[in-house]
């Protein structure tokens, strides 16, 4: 895509977050969409492009009374919204539409109007994974990790440290689900879910939603909010079966998506002020830091332990690469498809309004995963019209 040609002009999460038993899935989409439209000063009739996952873009458009010339129903799991941003930017540049609404809503905890997770017994997963007792993501997303731990000497303490540092960020965010400090021992003594994974190494399960509105950069300056420009994007998909990942020590999809986004943006890693890596589980920031090229293979555990991604503490300054500053899926919220909340935090950081604002941040990298290492999407944002 063309750098800085498209911008985010509306961004919002659902009015409530966490436990929302009185709103259904499509209601959460609509609440987030209306909040984002209010943020941008727009009405549904101003929107001519829609994108969503979880529900169909047809349901979304009709529910909000939008008659679009562009619809994207890409659904590859929790990073679908990164792909929606990428596709929307291309569509706007190509003239398919002018103003795209991207929504997410999920009743992950209350399951109001939510569909099930059933897989057909004749699907590849139904034939070659389900018979062995895989259930929820803690029994699937974690499958490659013992191999990664052996390859690089990563310990359970290293995994726990990821959760501890993210809780420090969550403590700075009033909307975070969990804000109380935790220690490595707390994590290692939390209930066993699927060894080596304990409860505090796994994401939350909550209700919520979010929405983004994108338009061309030349229109963006006429909107009420500070525009957040899209500098580069990437995407890839890998496998529907976590057991068939090409490499258990690295996500091939992460590497392809990240490299594409960095190449498009034309930036170096040292240019990045703020980073979001979708953290459904404690190992994902480790894989992300390595596969995006911020750390060499096996070095992310040291990078995090040495507080390079941490907030200020005990009078010492924060690390050089603030990571998951909303508290992440481990402590902020996780409805099921968390990617939208990572994007929201990147936009807040670029607008300069995040609860744990990184002072002077100009470039934010937002990296998502879909399924169990099935897919990936990366969006690089900037708050400067031209770098």
């Amino acid at each position: 895509m063309k750098q800085n040609s498209v911008a985010v002009v509306g961004a919002a999460e659902t009015t409530k977050m966490g436990k929302i038993p009185d709103v259904s899935v499509i209601g959460l989409h609509a609440d987030a969409a209306l909040n984002a439209m209010a943020d941008a000063g727009l009405k549904p009739s101003d929107i001519d492009g829609v994108a969503t996952a979880g529900i169909s873009p047809v349901e979304l458009a009709h529910y909000l009374g939008i008659k679009p010339t562009y619809a994207d129903g890409t659904a590859v799991g929790g990073c679908s919204f990164m792909l929606h941003v990428r596709h929307a930017a291309a569509a706007i540049n190509e003239g398919l539409c002018k103003t795209v609404l991207i929504t997410h809503g999920e009743s992950g905890r209350s399951r109001v109007g939510a569909s099930g997770f059933a897989r057909s017994p004749s699907s590849l997963m139904g034939q070659f994974e389900l018979p062995y007792g895989v259930t929820t993501p803690p029994t699937m997303f974690t499958i490659p990790v013992l191999r990664y731990m052996k390859t690089y000497g990563v310990t359970e303490e290293d995994l726990a440290t990821v959760a501890v540092v993210q809780r420090e960020w969550a403590a700075r965010n009033p909307r975070a689900s969990f804000k109380d400090p935790i220690t490595v021992d707390d994590v290692l003594n939390s209930p066993m879910i699927a060894w080596p994974y304990r409860m505090l190494m796994c994401c939350l399960v909550t209700d919520g939603g979010g929405a983004l509105i994108l338009t061309s950069a030349d229109r963006a300056k006429d909107f009420p909010q500070k525009p957040v420009y899209i500098l580069g994007t990437g995407e890839s998909v890998e496998t529907p079966l976590v057991s068939q990942m090409y490499d258990f020590n690295s996500s091939t999809a992460f590497r392809i998506s990240g490299k594409k986004a960095f190449d498009e943006a034309g930036i170096k890693h040292s240019d990045v002020d703020h980073l979001m890596i979708y953290d459904a589980f404690a190992h994902l920031p480790l894989y992300g830091l390595e596969d995006l090229g911020f750390c060499k293979p096996g070095e992310a555990k040291d990078f995090i332990r040495e507080r390079n991604t941490a907030p200020p503490k005990d009078g010492k300054p924060g690390g050089k690469l603030p990571l998951n500053t909303n508290g992440g899926g481990l402590s902020y919220m996780h409805s099921g498809m968390y990617g939208m909340y990572a994007l929201q935090e990147s936009v807040r950081q670029m607008r300069g309004i995040a609860p744990a604002q990184v002072e002077g941040a100009k470039i934010s990298v937002c990296h998502g995963v879909g399924g169990m290492f099935a897919a990936s999407g990366t969006v690089i944002f900037s708050n400067e019209a031209k770098l």
Binding site: S120, Q127, L130, Q244
Partner: protein
């Protein structure tokens, strides 16, 4: 509660018939010689449709796993392994490691394992792996 079982498709039937007959059947490309899994009617490496089915050795090493402490209702009540083994022929597959305690001490990465077939129904026997003997 009966165990959740696979439903074979035309592209995978040879694999499940092999399991029923006590044979772990893989496919191999006749052109590039790549062995692959899961089953399909062409080679995923080169796209060639000329592939052959053969009986694998059943030998593998334990590649990675978790021990699920919250078993699915059809999997009983005790913690159990959900593992990936790397077959001697190259491909990896998900399985359960059986015939040993379901503990980190007994389930050592890279240990040699051997296929066993657990009969679940008239049609389906599931390939599982146990520590190699001798």
């Amino acid at each position: 509660m009966p165990r959740i079982l696979p439903e074979p498709t035309p592209e995978t039937r040879h694999f499940w018939e092999g399991c029923k007959a006590g044979e772990l059947r893989l496919q191999r490309c006749t052109d590039c010689k790549e062995s692959y899994f899961p089953p399909r009617a062409f080679c995923p490496k080169c796209g060639c449709r000329e592939v052959e089915v053969y009986a694998a050795s059943g030998k593998a090493r334990l590649y990675s796993y978790v021990i699920n402490h919250r078993p699915r209702p059809d999997m009983g009540t005790e913690p159990h392994s959900i593992a990936v083994v790397e077959l001697a022929e190259g491909p990896r597959m998900m399985t359960n490691i059986v015939g040993c305690p379901q503990t980190p001490e007994a389930l050592v990465l890279d240990m040699d394992v051997q296929v066993v077939f657990q009969k679940e129904s008239e049609e389906i026997s599931l390939p599982m792996f146990e520590p190699a003997k001798g």
